[in-house]
């Protein structure tokens, strides 16, 4: 095989096949996928994310949450995603059309977050968990995100309404309080917006199985 041009063309041709097959064709098939309108209820799914949650998604990206948390629910009977309550149905392509960066993830050092907004709607829980995961999930290896919070002296007007409720060893020194920063608020807004359980023709929700 000493014929250079043939080698050259062969090299280009082989990669061209998957470039067309796995890049261009999928883009044609799914690149313009839109929202689905339910013919009975006129409900539109998926809804676009509100501004604050949209900004939170940028923090989720920047903090690298995707390296330990997936955002994909595998089909029923394949893995235990549904049994663990991570979703009522598998996720499908349409669930991700609004994501600026699609963060499916490949590692489950922590649990899946596809529907964390539905599973844990309490913002106060999220703040305490982010501040130090040991407060809510003892034995977790998630790093504490203290840098998303300000510890400051309680002002003359008394404790701020948005101060974290921290007890025991996690409590700040007397006279101090822990307040979420704007970043923490946006990140929690994003986490609470994570819900992929709309009824879709390609992924119907089994009503009786809702957990």
């Amino acid at each position: 095989m000493s014929y250079g041009p043939l080698l050259f063309l062969g090299i280009l041709f082989t990669l061209a096949t998957s470039w067309v097959g796995l890049v261009l064709l999928p883009h044609r098939q799914m690149g313009a996928l839109g929202q689905h309108t339910d013919t009975n209820t006129a409900a539109i799914y998926p809804a676009a994310r509100a501004g604050e949650a949209q900004q939170g998604a940028e923090h989720y990206r920047s903090l690298g949450c995707v390296y330990c948390h997936t955002q994909q629910v595998r089909p029923e009977g394949y893995g235990s995603d549904i049994e663990r309550g991570w979703g009522r149905r598998r996720t499908v392509s349409r669930d991700y059309i609004h994501d600026k960066t699609v963060m499916l993830g490949t590692m489950r050092t922590g649990p899946d977050l596809t529907n964390i907004g539905e599973r844990q709607a309490d913002a106060a829980w999220h703040y305490r968990h982010l501040y130090n995961p040991q407060i809510t999930s003892s034995g977790s290896i998630m790093p504490p995100h203290g840098f998303l919070f300000d510890t400051r002296t309680i002002g003359p007007a008394g404790r701020s309404t948005n101060a974290l409720v921290l007890e025991g060893t996690f409590a700040p020194p007397a006279g101090q309080e822990v307040i979420p920063t704007r970043r923490a608020e946006q990140l929690v807004a994003y986490l609470r917006s994570l819900k992929s359980s709309g009824d879709l023709p390609e992924a119907p929700v089994k009503k009786e199985e809702a957990k």
Binding site: M1, S2, G4, L7, F8, G10, I11, T14, L15, T17, S18, W19, L22, V23, P26, H27, M30, G31, A32, R61, S62, L63, G64, V66, Y67, C68, T70, Q72, R74, P75, Y78, G79, S80, E83, R84, R90, S93, Y96, D99, T101, V102, M103, L104, G105, T106, M107, R108, T109, G110, P111, P133, S138, G139, S140, I141, P143, P144, H145, G146, F147
Partner: protein, 497 residues
Amino acid sequence: MIKQSQTLRALLPGDAGANIGNKSALSEIDASCRVPVLFFFLSGLAWLLAGTVLALVASIKLHTPGFLAGWEWLTFSNVRTAHLNTVIYGFASQISVGVTIWLMCRLCRIPLVAPGLVTVANLFYNIGVTVGVGGILLGDSTAIEWLEMPRYATPILFVSYALIAVWTIVTFRLRAERHLYVSQWYLLAAVLWFPWLYGTAQVMLLIEPVRGVVQAAVNWWFAHNVLGLWFTPIGLASIYYFIPKVIGRPIHSYYLSVLGFWSLALFYNWNGMHHLVGGPLPSWMITVSIVASVMMLIPVITVAINHHFTMLGHFGKLKHSPTLRFMVFGAVSYTLASLQGVASALRSVSEVTHFTHHTIAHAHLGMYAFFSMVMFGAMYYILPRITQREWPSNGLISLHFWGVALGIVLYVVPMSIMGFIQGTMLNDAAVRFLDVVQFTLPWLKLRTLAGLLLAAGHVAFVINVGWLLVRMFEPYRKPVVRILTGEAETVAAAKLP
């Protein structure tokens, strides 16, 4: 330069009885490569040390989350991502380019064209990696696996890769040796494939991001092909060159190497979607990738047979040649990594191993036990030739080999087992998630220990390389350590330049 190579051609009276002319031509080629190849190797090794420190920090953080927890820029995700990008783009890619340059010149039998320009490309490239890794640590990571460097860094790298590709094609066109050796097919393929992959990924994910899960498809088409179409061909090109070269015997079968090359070219680039088994993509895409992954058995077994039969009867030489020792370790690991990869692509296995440390172990079996070991082996051969000095310390070579060999075995074997158990536990909804986390802790501590062994090996190697460089500035003396003697004597028999 071209003029010089013509003189060289005149100096080369063909294969027969041209030993002296041949040797002086080769040393002229080696000398032309000296500065740029040294730049690629040394900056690559600097990034290896940085990547090793980042790896250790990330490993410790995973079992002791309080470790250095106060600094946002050192958060686990940042350190882990910075580790991946320093070792992939800083270390592995730069050593690859250095080895590619040297091998291409030798096999084409021409001195390096415009070595000064290649050195400038190297500096440019290192600026790109520094900006990219800095951006990741500052929170600008794109969170797209293997493409985390921010948008303002990747074009610098792309231009460098494109320049290296152009340069390799120019060398190839000007070649004095018309016969093409199998290593050249792989090298030419790698330098043509990579800019295409990197360019597509940048346009479709960073510059003008595509919508929805098409991003995931492009991401894994790219990321898997970085391994399959960039590192693997360069690793195989090196094995195909260095094993015959060191043992002084031609490759076992020419036809097997043709089959191995074209089947790899056909099937590897379709593998990527096996990273998304069970995910929200059309089934046809995932199925196609699983089928292509299984088809990888053809090139893998072909190459394994070819290398094994080349080595057969020469295993005794492993004792004397560090190059051969690292090469054979890498070649065996390539087979094992590929078989593990084929197995993990199957739906039934992926159900367990996907999302676990099994995949992390697999990545290190491929990138380290195969690829990095082969690159170390290549450097053990190339560095003494371009510096014209022998390796200063035999002990440091042994420390390097045993440190990294034991280290990577202690990494890959336990982590593969642990990942499998972890996956089984995750698939049993009756097991609490936090119990799965607790189960992984002792294994993660073992990984830190393995990382320390790898680090010790790296330090030993870097000291030896540094020492070699110091010797470059000393007048030449007769070497005390004659570790490479065995190689030098048998080189002619392989009939490779």
